[in-house]
């Protein structure tokens, strides 16, 4: 594990979207099991075909071109079944898949095709067929539905949300237990990168505090005791793409 990377728990906490749904079905409890359901929403863009590639499709390489994952080559994709192979950067998921601990559901999406990130994410969490205000999310509604079946311990099972505002996915009729850290967590590196990029273009004086952003995060890392050493300021792949495309557009338009 790279000691320079933030720990997973710390990253999840900082993102504020960690939540857990706990229930104690009597049968499982009696058997000595304590199953947990953990849902993680990863925000940003993921190219499904670069994750689980349809290497068994005869047209795959022709349609995809140079970037196509293959079972051959220097870094071969990891075989999932006769048709699909996993991106070689995901050996853990590969192991879990073959151990019967993971399934992959490919090419699924909400019906949303517009351009607002926020509306799209809301739809993912609300579970509704179209965009619109919602005061509940599908997970909470599922819990409320299951609860009435008598299989859930109503006292023990609640949706547990982390963050001052319960994420939409966990909001609704079923009671929510929420917790937020008492300290101010540092903003993510991705957010910092986006902000610095904005300053670079529109406010040179504010851009001059670039170094303080780095120092501040180093200090925050030590202060919050997450054990991470000085983190290099690396924007997320999504942010990098966004920033690169913007630079390209500016170069083309001849803007300063």
């Amino acid at each position: 594990m790279n000691p320079h990377a933030p720990s997973r728990r710390e990253w999840l906490l900082a993102s504020g979207t960690l939540f857990a749904w706990t229930y104690l079905p009597k049968l499982a409890f009696a058997e000595g099991r304590d199953p947990r359901f953990l849902a993680i929403i990863l925000r940003g863009a993921l190219d499904g075909l670069a994750t689980a590639a349809p290497v068994g499709d005869p047209d795959w390489i022709a349609l995809r071109g140079e970037e196509a994952l293959t079972l051959a080559g220097k870094t071969p994709a990891l075989k999932l079944d006769d048709f699909f192979a996993l991106n070689p950067a995901m050996p853990n998921l590969h192991r879990m898949f073959h151990g019967g601990e993971a399934i992959i559901v490919h090419a699924c999406a909400t019906p949303y095709r517009e351009r607002s990130h926020f509306d799209g994410q809301d739809l993912l969490e609300s579970g509704l067929p179209k965009v619109g205000p919602s005061d509940s999310g599908w997970l909470n509604r599922a819990l409320a539905g299951l609860e009435s079946g008598g299989r859930i311990n109503p006292k023990g099972s609640r949706v547990f949300a982390v963050g001052p505002v319960t994420p939409l996915i966990a909001r609704g009729p079923a009671p929510v237990l929420s917790w937020s850290p008492q300290r101010i967590m540092p903003a993510s590196e991705d957010t910092v990168a986006r902000l610095l990029e904005l300053y670079r273009y529109s406010d040179t004086k504010l851009a001059s505090v670039r170094r303080q952003f780095q120092d501040d995060h180093d200090r925050a890392g030590r202060r919050y005791g997450n054990g991470a050493k000085a983190r290099p300021s690396r924007p997320s792949p999504g942010a990098r793409l966004f920033l690169r495309r913007r630079r390209q557009r500016r170069e083309i338009s001849g803007a300063a």
């Binding site: 504020g16 990130h117 505002v165 917790w179 937020s180 967590m185 902000l195 504010l206 952003f213």
Partner: protein, 483 residues
Amino acid sequence: MAPSDQAFVGPKAAALGLHRSGFGPAAGQINAIAADPRGAVLADLDRPLAGAFNGDLLSSAQAARAVFDFRAEQRAQKKLALRVQKAGATSGEMQAISNQAVSGPPDLAKPNNELEPKQPPLPQQLLLNEAKARLDAATHAEIGFIERLVWFWSNHFCISADKIPAMAGPYEREAIRPHVLDRFGDLLQSVESHPAMLFYLDNVESMGTNSIAGINRDRGLNENLARETLELHTLGVRSGYTQTDVKNFAKVLTGWTWIPPSEPEHGGEFIFNKRLHEPGPQKVLGKSYPDTGVDQGRAVLADLARHPATAQHIAWQFASHFVSDTPPPTLVDKLRRSFKDTGGDLKEIALTLINADESWTPQQQKLKTPAVWVASVMRLTGAQATIPIGLLMNAQAALGEPLWRPPAPNGFSDSEAAWIDGVPRRLDIANAFAGHVTADPLSLLESSVGPLASSQTRETVARAETRRQALALLLMTPEFLRS
């Protein structure tokens, strides 16, 4: 239409006016005042002040007495506990006695609904109440120009809550607020005779060496109040007063003190104590002032208010606070002349400021101080409904501007150089605040900086990964950080 006319009406001018003379727009406000932004800001000067404050807040004297009583009780309880311990009580009884002690920090693992905040001790509770009232006034004000004036003068005539926590809020309400549109001389008299200021600058300990008390106790002058009044409050540094002037002025001010808060009926109130007063006439800035008791000091203050150096000092600070760290000399001059010609009428110089073309420059040159920025965020998002006032005060303090706790009598700076290094920390706080807001970031962008927003700003907010990130970035855009 001349180009210069266009700069003062329309949505852009409205947005500038609201950020520069207030705490930024509330939702929908830019359009509401776009037809006449100047008029809208000026209308604030005709509204009654202090309407936002309810009757639950204590006067400064009441607060001083209440805190004194509280501390006396605490001391007594500790002593009682020691007595019991000495008498060999069981640990159970001791536990019962020490129940009143302040408990440790809350267990972080406990969920929110169990973390009912324990009532803080009285001095802190009073401070929180005052802070909340002040923030509410700023966020609910129509424009907020009056509130900005209160904040400006309160910082100009600052005291520190470190020294005198219970009186900080009442001082601002009693000595500053009622006079921000009066004559400067009235404001000056009110401030320099307020017990909070007298205690803060140690004038309560000052006595004339030839006064009755000075002779009996072998003690003498404390020059702090005199010096800071000359250097910070009126003339400004290096404006022609000498050390002798400071000393003589200090003599004039001896006797300006308070009734100690231990006195149950009038503790904490101003009193002129003749026994402390240095007898005889004093010469200050070339003029001799006969010993007329408390009026000797009032006469000096009146002359200081009228001094041309004061007009220049205040004019520069005013322009620098609202418009630019390097204000245009033409603007400073307009303000100075307004001050001088009207005998220091503070409403007039506020009018002059808003009427001046220089105040409507399209470049946002100022960096909002942490306190103004936090208030702007709250005004825009309404998040103070869900964030406890204590956390907001902590946020402000984390950014280096703890409420009513300036590090020195010259108050908090309002220049960019002082605050720019704290900008990264503002992002973390913006991110934390953003977690409390569910409104749409793009409509908040329109409400707050719409007419001012660059295309880069719009893109940055629109392309954020999450609503929360979008909101945090919005609050950190140059258009929102600046005024």
